[in-house]
Symmetry: C2
Subunit: 111 residues, 2 copies
């Protein structure tokens, strides 16, 4: 079964932003912001897709995919996204790591 949790991406190369994070305790408006950011990201130039998983311990990984480094820079500078980034620093994340990469090869098992 192919689920919508998997991003449908074009042939390589493209770019990825891997965001690993440990949530703080408490909700503090996080879910609404996270939904809004995914919704907003999908409307940005060069957006290709997103995949996300978070365990019950609050550790999560979200990978978004982009056509170019310029598209990533543009999304990073988006005003509403910047507000979310500031709240993320202050409220929602105990620790995070962000890694920007160029995807060179991709394959999978799709049923």
């Amino acid at each position: 079964m192919t689920t919508p949790r998997f991003a449908k991406l074009p042939p390589t190369p493209y770019y990825s932003v891997t965001f690993s994070s440990q949530r703080t305790p408490g909700e503090n408006g996080y879910d609404q912001m996270a939904d809004r950011m995914v919704e907003l990201a999908t409307t940005q130039p060069g957006y290709l897709g997103v995949e996300s998983a978070r365990g019950s311990d609050g550790f999560g990984i979200t990978v978004s995919y982009w056509a170019s480094l310029e598209a990533i820079a543009h999304w990073r500078a988006h005003a509403e996204h910047q507000i979310a980034q500031e709240s993320g620093q202050a409220l929602w994340y105990e620790h995070y790591e962000l890694r920007i990469a160029r995807v060179e090869r991709a394959y999978g098992k799709r049923t």
Copy 2:
């Protein structure tokens, strides 16, 4: 709090293998294999670290980090890992996507 869930990585560039997967229902020896593969990966040449998250819906993302494409190819060809890959295809994963990338930039919030 810095948790051991985050990989401690050297300065960029390095390489990542992002494995997104949807588990099949049932355990079928998966947890033991997953633990063993992480243990084995850490002993491989060029291994830098791993981060992993899986939600209660069975969708997960594991990112392993490597010094070079050669290190990734070597790990992929490891005999015991190949057996796990075959069982993964047959038993454990409904769907997976594997993406190999060169990490260009990294930063984070570390408390």
